[in-house]
Every structure is written in C-alpha cells, then in structure tokens.
Symmetry: C2
Subunit: 194 residues, 2 copies
DNA sequence: TGTACATCAGTGAACGCGCGTTCACTGATGTAC
DNA sequence: TGTACATCAGTGAACGCGCGTTCACTGATGTAC
C-alpha cells in the first residue's frame, strides 16, 4: 500500500542506516539485500523503489555512513578546538575495533572497494578526500616528513591500515591488536608540535 | 582414481596457488570453491581431501601467498643490501595496485579478515608480525617519531592503508590513486637517513 | 619379479539453502474536480 | 468541503542461479606376499 511521502523518506533513511551498519559488519558481498530490508522493517521488494540495485544502495549507504560519522568527529565541541588527536582518538579506538558495525566506512570497506563498481569507488574517493583535507587542516606548516600534503596522505593511510590490521589480528592475538593501535597512535602523535 | 603421492602434492599446491590469487582478486566471500578447484584443474569434490573446509583453505592459502611474495621481496639480491626502499617499492607499486590477484595478501584481505574465523586471523597475524619485523630491521636506530617499534608499526599500517585506498579510489579517480601511492612513498622515504 | 588386493585422490550427482532481481498486485495517499 | 480516481510505496511469490558440503563410486597406485 502507498505510504505518506514523509514515511517513504523515513523508510529510505532506515534502509541507508541498516545498509551502512550491515555492509560494514559483513562486507557488501557478505550480506543480502533481504537482510538489509528486514533490519529496516521492510520487505526486500521495497528496496528497488528507492535504489536501482545493490551497488547503488552500497554507494549511497557508504556516503550516508561517512557523513554521519565524519560530521560527529570533525565538528568541534563548544570551546574545544579540533586537533590531530580528535582524529587519532576517533580512528584508533579499541571500542570501534571490536564492533565492526561501528566506525568509518572508509576503514571497514577499504579493501573490498577495489572489487566493487565505479559508483562505490566514487563515494569512497569523495570520503577519502574529505577526511584527508580535514587532517591536513590540523597539521603544522612544517613537519618532520616534508610538506603537509604528503603527511596528510600518510596519516590517513596509517589510520585506515592500522584499524584494518588490528581487526584482522584481534581474533588470534588481542594483545598484538592493541599494540598496533597504540603504537600507531603514538607515532602519529609525535608528528604534531607539542 | 588414485594418483601418485607426488601428483597429489602438486594438486594441493595448485589449489593453494589458485586460492591465493582468486581470494586476493575477489575476496574470500566473493569466489566459490568450485572456481578455485576449476582454476587448479580439479573438480570441487577433491578440495575436501586436502582441506577441512573453505576457511581452512583460506587460512593456508593466505600463508602460502604471503610466503611466496615475502621471500621474493625480503631476500636481498646478490650484492644489494635490503633497504626500506625495497619494501616501499614492492608495496606501493602501481602495477600491483592495478592487478588485484598480485601483491601481498595482507593488503588484499586486510579488511575482510576481521570477518573471517580464527584460523584466517592466525595466518594474518603471523604474516603481519613477520613483515613488521622485516621493516624494523631496515630502520635507523633513532628516527623522527620515537622508537623503531612504533615506527615499524606505523610504516606497515601506512603501506597496507595506502594500497587499500589507492585500489578503492582508482575506478573513480586514477590521478588521485597515483597521488596517494606517491605521497605515502615520499613521506615514508623521508623517515630513513640519507 | 609377479600377483592379489587394500588404499585413497579424485569424480560428479545431489543436498538444502540463500542470493539479486522482477513483477502482478494491494490499498492508502494525495490530487483534480 | 466532499467525491472520484490516478498514483505509487510496499508486498510477497516466483525466476534462475550459484553456493558449501556430502557421499557413493572409480580405478590407478602402492604394498604385502
């Protein structure tokens, strides 16, 4: 049956929320559209009234999840300046490591994005550029490794890689997983002025 | 029909080779056991004479693929010392970026390893520790970011993250993908003494 | 060396199951009069 | 404001297909005598 335009919009948001969490947790190829729709409180047929196909859903869900998380991190709290530590604490958190449905989709789907289509790659690239730009803004003019641009690329790569590695090893060696997050946090922290 | 012991061993190696390449290219969840067996020149039933299940195959294939690639990179060529650049050139290569079946399985399956079982996590952890140790060996005693251990963690995280990001964005923006590899190469290169 | 036979790697049909997508249908919404 | 009806978000059965795993069977290998 038809629903109000407002309800339809809410349902689309619910689909994006569900897809964001489930794709992060299980991977895009690791969860079915029926599960996403069920979590959103709809049946699977409804999906195709809002999205062209699963790839389209994945691309939009990626952007949606990045926006939600990134705005929370990058918006400075009242009276507090945004610093490099803001990013380090948000991206190298053990709590996020232990809950795959949480965290930045840049990290959760980094490796498999290379196997997805161009639409998902576009969402991924836009998010990366925005995060890299945000990190560059909080860097000092001259650091130990040359220009800010190179350092910002290095930092984002390290954030993504450290979390991926920590998640990869945690089931076999929790201490090693913690060590990776702590050491990368420490190494990156030394690149800003005290 | 039965085959010679030697042939059976060759077939197992062929299964590991095929699994290594196909799991890197499509992800563990993205390719079927029948495809792996077909690429190895066998039918799908034969797999279970060599491996307990798909997870077991994935774990052994990971170690097999890491060994093959890592030994090639870390064994110094006659008369040439192994340096940090050895690792940077091997891990931040555009040629590897553009062929998903190539390269280190640490990079290819980093994100999805968090979703696999403990056996795969064990293989992943062992490979990471070995690579990190190899990188630490070529670092100077005192660098710009504190102790060698922290720097080695940072470097491996950056190598893994940079390749994952470059592969993620390349379908949407090839110039951006190249830039990430080059800038991270440049930033990491400045951390060794000239 | 020759023969009889147990072993077991590999085959391929079959299992139940879930996948992404399509489509005829439903019925409340929202609009035209 | 009241009525008639076109719209369209959502439903759920159905599609063909591929998945991981099992298992009865095959027949060359390798061994015991």
């Amino acid at each position: 049956m038809k629903v109000t335009k407002e309800q339809a919009q809410q349902n689309k948001q619910a689909l994006l929320d569900a897809a964001g969490a489930l794709f992060k947790e299980h991977g895009i190829d690791g969860i079915g559209v029926a599960d996403v729709c069920r979590q959103a409180g709809l049946t699977h047929g409804a999906l195709y009234k809002h999205f062209a196909d699963k790839q389209d859903l994945a691309a939009q869900a990626f952007t949606h999840a990045f926006r939600a998380g990134y705005d929370r991190v990058s918006t400075p709290k009242a009276g507090k300046a945004r610093t490099l530590d803001t990013y380090l604490d948000a991206y190298l958190s053990k709590r996020v490591r232990d809950d795959l449905s949480k965290g930045c989709p840049l990290v959760s789907t980094a490796c498999e994005t290379g196997r997805q289509g161009e639409a998902v790659s576009r969402s991924f690239a836009d998010a990366f550029v925005e995060l890299r730009s945000g990190v560059e803004d909080v860097l000092p003019e001259a650091g130990p490794v040359g220009d800010k641009a190179a350092l910002a690329n290095l930092m984002v790569a390290a954030l993504v890689g450290a979390m991926a590695i920590s998640r990869g090893v945690v089931k076999a060696d929790r201490a090693l997983a913690d060590e990776v997050l702590e050491q990368v946090h420490s190494a990156l922290g030394m690149m800003q002025p005290r």
